[in-house]
Symmetry: C2
Subunit: 423 residues, 2 copies
């Protein structure tokens, strides 16, 4: 027999995440970049943190953390201050804090019937927030002008030494035309470019799907923090998903993954705005609830009424919610069998449907999903509510800075930020 040798413990039942066949080598410069990013990301996500705690959390030694924090402070990305209360004897460890006041992103959203724009500081603090209506039939590209107006309005009160690092826009998957028909839209490449051009903003704007962005927000700051494999379901007129696997957003080819609202669940179902029939969103979108409750499917304002009536045990409203919840469980079971996430998070209007019909969702899931997949899966209401798209958009906008803090173009000293042809 040949000579077996120990190659470490096997990982039964859990395949390693197989990397690409050829990964490039890492240089000294890249390590420094990674470590600067790790420190900045930590205080961005977790807030002010002492050097001592950073040392523990990031597994780097004290002198390395000290040097990294000093570099970030010199660039104006963080402050370092003595803690207000020292708990132990000896020299207290400096506390590193993100400069939310100075470094900020623009977070925009194009929602079913409104537009929003926020200025969000490093660390995730909402510094300013504006809103405007979105008339029926307004396309995402049509929204560029009104969104730019909101942004310019916010910019009037920004300090001269503040630094804009980039922007992102969350786009709802589905809109309604003036004639009441539902149209499939979503983020496309032209939108980010158009916003960048309109605002003459050098760093530009990233456009992404609402559900992807809101899922990202729940992953970084919400109910799915620390959960590596989860599905965020966003529902209003349409239904789509942000799928995060192994801590990474599944984007698919050109960002078009997660169109779960167009899984066909009912082959003999109703026609869908996408041209197919019996899509999941024809069974669980807002229009389905209104239909079951005997209301006009185009009357969005009635959705809240139906949900309230169901909570008051009004029989028709209650049956309508349970019917939607049953189809919600049906599609979730399919997603659980395919993706096998640890958690499914319900957001948008589906948050309320889940809250009212959790037992029905779980019953259908138990009937349909495989035991190995369904037994562990947690079903949860979203935590961040209506701000999730804005919070997530800011995370996308900060991503470049967090990946490479010193080369993202933020100027060397506070107050000397280099302008890049602002509007």
């Amino acid at each position: 027999m040949a000579t077996p040798v120990r190659s470490g413990v096997p990982r039964p039942g859990r395949n390693p995440a197989f990397p690409l066949p050829s990964s490039p080598g890492a240089s000294q410069e890249e390590i420094r970049r990674q470590n600067l990013g790790a420190v900045l990301r930590h205080v961005h996500v977790h807030g002010p943190t002492s050097r001592a705690e950073l040392t523990t959390r990031l597994g780097l030694n004290r002198s390395t953390i000290g040097a990294l924090a000093a570099d970030l402070a010199a660039t104006g990305l963080v402050t370092e201050e003595a803690p207000t209360t020292a708990r132990r004897a000896g020299r207290p460890s400096l506390v590193v804090s993100p400069r939310s006041d100075r470094v900020y992103a623009h977070a925009l959203s194009i929602e079913a019937d409104r537009l929003r724009a926020a200025r969000i500081g490093l660390g995730g603090r909402i510094l300013d927030l504006r809103e405007a209506g979105r008339p029926c039939g307004m396309s995402a590209l049509d929204a560029v002008g009104p969104l730019a107006d909101l942004v310019r309005d916010m910019e009037r009160s920004v300090a001269a030494d503040a630094v804009f690092v980039g922007g992102a826009v969350a786009v709802a998957d589905t809109t309604r035309d003036p004639d009441g028909r539902i149209r499939i839209g979503g983020a496309d490449e032209a939108l980010g470019a158009a916003l960048g051009a309109e605002l003459a903003a050098g760093p530009g704007f990233v456009a992404a799907d609402m559900a992807d962005i809101a899922g990202l927000a729940e992953h970084v700051r919400g109910v799915a923090a620390g959960v590596d494999d989860f599905v965020y379901l966003h529902g209003d007129l349409g239904v789509s998903a942000g799928i995060i696997i192994g801590g990474r957003l599944v984007v698919g080819h050109r960002g078009h993954s997660g169109k779960v609202g167009h899984m066909v669940v009912n082959r003999d179902g109703l026609p869908c705005g996408c041209g197919s029939r019996g899509c999941w969103e024809t069974e669980i979108g807002e229009a389905a609830l209104l239909r079951h409750a005997g209301r006009d499917p185009a009357e969005r304002a009635a959705v809240a009424e139906v949900l309230r009536a169901a909570a008051d045990a009004e029989p028709t409203a209650r049956a309508a919610v349970q019917q939607v919840a049953d189809w919600l469980g049906f599609g979730v079971a399919n997603l659980v069998n395919v993706v096998n996430p640890d958690t499914v998070v319900f957001g948008g209007y589906l948050r309320e449907v889940f809250a009212a019909g959790a037992d029905t969702v779980r019953r259908r899931l138990d009937e349909m999903a495989l035991p190995a997949s369904r037994e562990h899966v947690r079903l949860q209401a979203a935590a961040l509510g209506r701000d999730a798209p804005l919070i997530g958009a800011a995370e996308l906008a900060f991503d470049k800075l967090l990946a490479d803090p010193l080369n993202a173009g933020v100027a060397g000293q506070p107050g000397t930020g280099q302008a890049d042809a602002p509007a």
Copy 2:
């Protein structure tokens, strides 16, 4: 207005793969480990490669590549030799080759009706291959003894200085009981441990789902090489998928992702072995083809006959294949809407169904999937055929070595491999 600064080009339409909030820092030692792994993985996947080409491919400088290759050679993982034909003037660049003869893994498969065991050398070369029948009703754990016999039989002809780095076993999702009922099984943790104990093999065995493993094989050495986002569909008695996103296998909680055969596609369909009804595999598994062709659904041997008859334009067989192909397209459309892969690969018996019914699959996909997702997606027959599970299992088994070549326990010099209590 504040000072916008350049933070690089936006990535419109394609969200960055958002990393975990806190990533640990990288050390010198880790860089060396990564680089050694990158060199070894390159020659493992691409075969003998000159130092000069490694320099180009991996983006490292010449002296670094030279030192890394020398370290790997000293450990007995690669050889370095002058090329047999030098194409240019000057000193020829040494060629680095994987030591397929010396370093090997055990790749096992528990298939619907047979067991296989192969010895596969570094570089992916099949050095030896054995096969035994798998009687109806034999569970995966029951297969441990017969598989160990195959392994011991192979080990008799292994050179004394050969080094075993680990093993993996691919397990079919579905089996048939003696009474003809289909049972849902799959890989579980106990299986890898039982194989490790039976063979007293220190490195142990990883157990994983057949489709995950075959998908991995197609990703490393098959039709999906270089494709980062794809779905591999494996069908025989049952149907499951290996889903690779961003170059990584989606494993889900405890390895149970990709059970796509249990998406419910037909709410009023037939009962499934999983306890649900109308699962995709009731419409596209082998039994469905046999049913439509008027054959006994339990008679597996007839599947090939029906496929042949369809190729000869026999009307009943042809209609049966088209019906399965139509449901195949139905489920693929749902997967394309959810995951939005670049490529869908058809393996196992579905390879033949796709070959015969590609137009039907595509037609159904075009009817159901969203334009943005379906327009780019390539549909392809698997390339590796019946050896895919073994080739993929070897990749899993080599993974630990490729991640950390010098610390995976492979001894310092050829011929001095430390034994770890072989059988």
